[in-house]
Amino acid sequence: MSRASARLGAPRLGANVMGLALLPSALFFALFFFLPIGLMAVMSFLTGNPVVMPNVVATTRHYERILDDPYYFEVMWTTVRIGLYTTVAALLLGYPLAHLMARVKSRSLHALLLMAVLMPMLTGIVVRTFAWMAILSDKGVANQILQALGFAPMQLMYNEFGIVLGLVHIYLPFMILTLTGVIGRIDERLEQAAQNLGASPLKAFCEVTLPLSVPGILAGSLLVFALAISAYVTPILMGGFQIMTLPILIYQQISANFNIGFAAALGMVLLVLSMVLVLAYNHILAAVSGQRDLA
């Protein structure tokens, strides 16, 4: 009797023990991720640090400050504008390569292309931003080539152009990998059928593959936009401390002003914006993989 019950109970006991394996990470995330994010939300509604200051009260003044002062609206708009430029450029550059990667027949060629896309991802963002500074600075590679060809040197960085170029390089792999996944699921025979019926390859692409890849375009764009608006290193270095974006402003509130409450409020704005974008991204990709058989 006891043996039988032990044998019956054993797998369930094993499963429960495995469930316990979740505990350390659950505790870790609760303590060091969700609690801090919650504290940030609380701090954004307080007048100061409640631990060291005795008379801290609840307030909405940090949010009012963001809404009232046109300077902060200007900063948000700069951040969003840079994000939009980066997204459009990454889409235009990324689509052709994603299409090639999804359609290439040779496995080794596909592996080579994948390595070429992953290689920049494995290089740190500071290092990659440095590479663009070496190329675009006043005495950089681009200007030396321009001068050797007899052109006047141009101001290629310390402006939004330089920031966008650096960001496109950093986030292009994310666009390419998202697009490749979606384009790879489109049945190639649909395009061939259109061509057999007399459509030119361009027309077949525009009327068959392109519309079917719209979810990939949306998902990749949301991802790149969300990453670009939360970038810090590239905007500050390529912008030469001239251009203010939301993440730069957040860091400045901590490092220069030590205004934790206002930094928290700005952080909440970025948090809510990113969460909306990321949820939309997940929703679109889930819908695509759900209708895999249709396309």
Binding site: L22, P36, M43, V127, M133, V141, L237, I250
Partner: protein, 265 residues
């Protein structure tokens, strides 16, 4: 017919240009690191290793490199244990809401990393603990555990449950089955996740930004501070060292445990 050829040519030309855009900047770093003049000369005028000498002789860069390696090593160990146990719990624990738990474990990758750093920094200020090393490692773990969870789950989902059943049917205890069947089978996924964790931690900037203590900074932060004022070959040499170290970790582990057959990137 002609337009077909032109179209094909344009398609390939655009793709070559995009590949060049992705890879040339990384090549430029190597040129810059070996170039003898303090400002980048194009085309290069010679080859020198003096910037590497300067990098390895700089106490500031060396302490940053050592700190980065230390943080990356601690992060890799902690993230591997936390992430692998979480994945086992999700896949084998029979706990309700495993999809939600997975989403939660992956969520730090979904939020701007700079906010993870900010939120932790504020928590440490409220706790009045200063900026300890463990605080930095905790921040790095948050953005690396998801990689370990993901790679370990991928292996767990692909493996044949009958192997575990067979071991049990042959009389092995649950513990023995776990250590002699399950653990060796998920090892490649755990190791792949550990490699990601090491590289992500070693190159980490946004999480570290708020959490490093002044005067004791990781390599990416030191590079960033240097770049604010200077743009000479030392920074190129430092960049090359950090690229090669990351590559070395990947290649080294590939050689020793043979990742290629297991990891689908």
């Amino acid at each position: 017919m002609l337009s077909l050829k032109v179209g094909r040519f344009l398609y390939l030309a655009v793709n070559w240009a995009v590949l060049a855009f992705l890879l040339l900047p990384i090549l430029i770093i190597f040129v810059f690191a070996l170039n003898p003049t303090p400002y980048i000369e194009f085309p290069p005028v010679g080859v020198t290793l003096k910037w590497f000498d300067k990098f390895f002789a700089s106490p500031q860069f060396m302490s940053a490199l050592l700190l980065s390696l230390e943080v990356a090593a601690l992060t890799t160990i902690a993230a591997t244990v936390l992430g692998a146990s979480a994945a086992l719990g999700i896949a084998r624990g029979n706990v309700p809401g495993s999809r939600l738990i997975t989403a939660i474990m992956l969520s730090p990758l979904m939020l701007p990393a700079i906010l993870t750093g900010l939120a932790l920094f504020q928590t440490y200020v409220l706790m009045d603990v200063g900026r300890p090393l463990w605080g930095l490692v905790v921040g790095h773990c948050l953005v690396t555990v998801p990689y370990v969870v993901r790679t370990t789950l991928a292996v767990l989902h692909n493996f044949d449950l009958r192997l575990e059943e067979a071991a049990r049917n042959l009389g092995a205890s649950p513990q023995r089955t776990f250590f002699e069947v399950t653990l060796p089978l998920i090892k490649p996924g755990v190791i792949a996740g550990g490699i990601f964790a090491f590289i992500v931690s070693f190159d980490q900037f946004p999480v570290s930004l708020f959490l490093v203590s002044p005067g004791q900074e990781t390599l990416p932060i030191t590079l960033f501070n240097y770049l604010k004022y200077d743009l000479d070959g030392t920074i190129g040499a430092a960049s090359v060292v950090s690229i090669l170290l990351a590559a070395l970790v990947v290649i080294g582990l590939d050689r020793t445990v043979g990742l290629r057959s297991y990891v689908k990137l």
